[in-house]
Symmetry: D3
Subunit: 320 residues, 6 copies
């Protein structure tokens, strides 16, 4: 049965579907009766939910947050839509169609990953080849890499967003590297493949996008550097030692790819390759961010709302 999305619910209809419950609170009315207030959400938004005949065991059983099956009815209350809940049951996350709850890249994830592997296979330098192979051959990591978002919000904030962003950056690199023959292509391609790999550990995306504890304490840039060195340690243990110079050159690209201290890079770019990865990353992220901001508002106005991260409103109108 197709999921009824939150932003499609009309007033006065019957509800019998799965949603995410968030922030449930047990309260009592002035008459002393218990009820539960909560939010019900999917990837299109959230609504207030009220269960009037509640008990403490029902409240305790609720995940905070988590998936629940709701039976009830929508109604308008003071001009706001809310859901009156008759029955609420916990749902096994394994049985949920995650795409109803998290936006997913519109591109073909499998095909993008194949194209990435093909592009990276062009690397000539033996050590960079070994390193990138070690990453691409780590099935568990690649599973995460293909599904992680590229960011919490702003750009590529969807399942597969990191994959899509990395894939497009590699395409840009392949297109422009011939125009800059002195830039070491192998380093740029390897740098792009790895640059945000730590986001697989920084971001959680099982029900909604959030930061992991470890992600907040350490950050994806430093996580990526650790992953790189652990892969190198593993290769050395298997008899394929990686030169410190190779690790430092690649590590430097990772550390400096935000381009400025205030954006969390502990090192500023100091090689042509580091500059190129930084610019390709920023270009691809910003174009995606601008197009998303323009598309996400349902409006015919020529200008979007103020974009705080860009310190401007965006102009939507195209030339005829």
């Amino acid at each position: 049965m197709a999921h009824t999305f939150i932003n499609q619910i009309e007033p006065g209809v019957t509800i019998n579907d799965i949603y995410i419950v968030k922030d449930p609170i047990l309260r009592s009315t002035t008459r002393g009766d218990l009820y539960i207030a909560m939010y019900l959400a999917d990837r299109t938004g959230q609504l207030n939910g009220r269960m009037w005949q509640a008990t403490e065991p029902i409240y305790r059983a609720l995940p905070k947050p988590g998936f629940v099956h709701i039976q009830g009815r929508s109604e308008l209350y003071q001009n706001n839509l809310q859901i009156i809940i008759n029955n609420i049951n916990v749902v096994d996350p394994a049985k949920v169609r995650i795409d109803d709850f998290l936006a997913r890249t519109k591109k073909d994830q499998k095909q993008m990953f194949e194209e990435i592997k093909k592009t990276v296979s062009q690397i000539q330098n033996a050590q960079l080849k070994a390193l990138t192979k070690a990453f691409l051959g780590d099935a568990e990591l690649m599973e995460k890499f293909c599904n992680a978002p590229a960011a919490m919000k702003l750009h590529h904030d969807c399942i597969g967003g990191l994959l899509e962003h990395t894939h497009n950056m590699l395409r840009v690199a392949v297109a422009i590297l011939p125009l800059y023959p002195n830039v070491q292509a192998d380093l740029v391609l390897a740098g792009i493949l790895l640059h945000d790999m730590g986001k697989t550990e920084e971001l959680a995306y099982d029900m909604a996008f959030s930061y992991t504890d470890s992600g907040q304490l350490i950050g994806h840039i430093n996580k990526t550097l650790l992953m790189l060195n652990q892969k190198a340690d593993a290769l050395r243990a298997k008899g394929t030692p990686i030169d410190p110079e190779v690790l430092d050159a690649l590590g430097h690209i990772i550390l400096s790819h935000h381009g400025a201290y205030e954006f969390g890079s502990p090192k500023l770019p100091a090689t042509p390759e580091a500059f190129m990865v930084y610019y390709i990353d920023d270009l691809d992220a910003k174009i995606n961010q601008v197009e998303s901001a323009i598309d996400s508002e349902q409006s015919d106005a020529n200008w979007t709302a103020w974009q705080n991260a860009l310190q401007t409103r965006l102009y939507r109108k195209r030339l005829e």
Copy 2:
């Protein structure tokens, strides 16, 4: 006769060549004799010059600065090389091989300009087509465009530098525009062609690179905006009016292409096209700047000197 470059002069040799004289001063020795102190320069550097048997008429006749034919001799004085001048004569600038005095792009200027014309001819939008044609058909302006430097220093600071920079930006745009199908390609191509056109009026480059008065008071960004509107006025007078919306969209790209207020942009990018021109400009300028800084030092050290504009030293060593 081939020019003897300043950085190739050995001590104790005869000098009989053309140089730029700069900052000449008439002084008297302790015995009361007059002499002229000056700098002699070409594109490889400058040396102190001394003319010991000087007169006020000789001093008055000197251009300040300008080209002069020098007869004299090099000598070491306190371990510094200087030129002792016996004869000094003003030279007609028209008879000077300017390439001895100003660095020139290593690429073929004619070919680059042809490729630019070809690329820009792909523009579909009729009004942008008319506008870019009006620029490309302005022979006097294109003469300047093909010879102006792209900057006083830092990047593409050579005769033909603006052409080379614009040419490469267009090549980058052509390579990556297919990857961003929602970005209006016509606007990006026209924006790149025009983005620094005002540098033809901001920078002087007859003997050395310098700013014009007008360039310092108004700046190349605003000069470019004025040129755009004057071309549109001329087209309107000829019966081809340009819509205000087209002028505003293109003008916005010009005004915002430095990407930040502190870099002299009075507007921040507010369209996908403005973001794309800004990133392609910055990428091409920075890669050129980094490679120039690495190449310009005669050193085997792994690191360049401190680069103030980049707030780092640059790493020169390549992977093997």
Copy 3:
């Protein structure tokens, strides 16, 4: 009949007056009846309006935004005042008393404009005289100049605000120029007259103050520079060429009069005249802003609310 201002409407009274309708939305109640929610506004504020017996044709006929004649009644709903609408009819803007909807300078606009013309007529330099005459003689432009606000908010945000601000700046200049005899008075007076002329194109003020598309894409500083050069082109066509040096000196004052890059000036002041115009502009704007902030709160407290643009609260109490 006198207009009943929004901030004077009591609960429970009959409404029969003209207001601006903003953001009307057609909705249906839980019973399926259609109603229209909207804002009704004039220069003193806005209220929620509800038309319960609505139809789609009524909704479609509404301007978004625009002037409407309202018949209905005020009532308290959940302690908020709202208007229940029985009849709503579109009104021809030409028949509206615009002063009910936009604040207007308290000073005499005609007299201020005459004083400006008299002051500017003291300019001795022939070319600056011709340029300022060309502006003052452009009736269509002067009509806008006399009515435009000086800013969207913060200072002189009223009909005639630009005129009042320019008028007062000229008075300050006339008062202090004798104290700075080396500052070129003609340039200062011409610079002040023109400095914000582009606001006539940057801001719209037919019903409420807003930015035009062109204003947001190009900005008033650059618009003013374009106007200056177009006036000079027109004068040249009529046989009165303006020296580039005059245009550059005046253009520089316009470009640098915000005094800092982060306030949108693409050039920093580099002449005594540019510094003087910058300081007189900032002084007059800030004193107006401070006095407006102090006056606009209806409060006896010694301090105003926090002023974000000034990073302080303001002290209202005067010495006895």
Copy 4:
């Protein structure tokens, strides 16, 4: 006998005049003979001095720094002028014409002080009248006030500079206060009179301009606040108590008159009067700084050297 200024000394002439000796050092030649190296200075510059037949008692007797009478001869050494000293004798500072050593305002100090007193006498508020009278009647302080420079460098850096700057600020205030009738004129006039009074304690100017220890540890802004409160304490002791509100309003003007934290103001302007004093101070200082920078270079070039404090070069050329 007229003083021979440092910048007028020709090579090979006899020297018999008073200069400031700075940084004398006793050294020995390779042969073991003692000599003293030192700088000799007046307000036009400084030269190297050498006394070849020196003894330790001669060295010990020298002030470091201080006034000395020099007998000797100028000579060119490696193209630099230096003074060979035969005799050197300490001079009583009381017998020195200080104007040979420190630049002095070109305006009439006595007349400026009289005009200041006249302007300040217009203050109506009794307490501000008493306070300003207490300052103007403090003969010892006024002696310093009439001679102190307004700054170490940049603007009004001459004997009488503080007086000239304060005098001109008061003239500006008198000229524009009628245009801002809601600004409390008494507070502005008193605020201007006092705003930099602490510079009399922050700066030393007996031989050259320098900071006092106390000036560096506490700063002139806070010194001025202390002076204000000490004058108020003295008035209270004499039976004329000053209301705390008056002291706070005036103190706030003093503390905030640099207009920004990074310029050493511990408070940002929060009253119209504080804003006005800040702008008049900055306007008068900057115009003086710009005109001084333009005049101080002996050059016909259109542009001055780079002005670091203003982040631009300055344009010297005037309209014809």
Copy 5:
């Protein structure tokens, strides 16, 4: 009778207690009846209050703000708790238990003050001894010192907070001064004792924490400097003159103890003692701020809400 705290009031209970009334407004219902809307507060929060049978005399008698005795009843209105008031009477502040309304340090104020006196008595330098004695012996001032908060919010924002903060800073100083033997301990101890003494005049704390007018106009840093100099003037009058050098060294510590211009210090630290006081102050304030932020949220989450002043969320989880 124990006070019923705002955050403990249940719906539907009788209220008979003292609260602070804030922002009372007299309004009329749609039927024309008068009622008063207000906030009722204590140190745990605030609620809406409504008195339906109100008269203008009742409204006029209310303090704005002030203490009132309330008789009434709590109820839920649209899911928000509010107080329906039957009787309201003004209460003499002297009869109020202030601890119900303002948080108080959990440490023993008397004991802390005794420990401070003991620590400060170790000062050897006679003049610093005299100065600190003069402060500690000023009973009226010490009464305020023992009760003032250290800040409006963020850290030690409670009755006795300034005392607790100063006390702990002295303990830190005593602990680490032996590790820095070249730092002058007497100056550090005296500097800590005085560093925020001006907060006794900057902050008001009779009902809630707020700034005084004088505090906002002058600031606690400058107030402290004035207090120091007034105490020195008083000592001089009694025959114990304090050397200017001692006052300047101590005054410098006070002025620079925020460590940066943007935090309101008009001077940057220039002595080892000034650096030490700055670091001890910042360390103690920040640790208190971090621990308070972690403790004040009732949450089991690993992370606090975003802390704007620290530009991060805080991690609450401890190692096991």
Copy 6:
């Protein structure tokens, strides 16, 4: 034989000692003779050296830089001291007394290391105990830890400087931790021990202090994080797994201990322990930096030269 330090060489004495040769250049005189120009250095400074009878083999044999035995003579040339070299021979670094060339901490390195071990042994948490033991037991690393400088310049820039700085930080922590009972002492102690461990790889200090390539590309903060994780990997391999939470909490302290992005910390402090380590580090570094700056100038002046890193001059005078 005792080394004759560079800053003790008098003119006209015989030189027969070991120095570091830096930047040797082979040049020819005007007569065509070859000579070598170079710097000769030890830890007290450097002088120009000239070897007039040079050959290309001699030049080629010189280390660039490295230790050499010099025979020659000092002389004054244009008032500057230089060394005229007769013989120059390469010296085996192993035979050099390194303390003549690099400053060394004045404290007992062995004793400091013992005290550090004792302090760290107080850690209770089993995993932190294991981790710190793993570091303290790594003899090769501890050898470097005991000798590395804490910084290139500014503070603790001497052999053993890192040890001295870490040792003193631990002493400060032990002194103040009892005053902050909620701060987890074990984390603070472990964090201090490790915080700058990566400097052993970032800085080279065999002849002079310099950055390693790896140090510049990766930085000591990230190097420390890698070392921490490698030690944890090794412990896990030996059967002592470290919880990710422990590694993250400790890693966060390392990453955030510079306290601000612009100082190279990719994370801002988010735990009480991270704040404490940041403050103790900054306090100890700054006090050392201030005292060193005051001591290092040989001057009786009350103020040091301008300290760019501190944006002030420092006041040297102590209270009597």
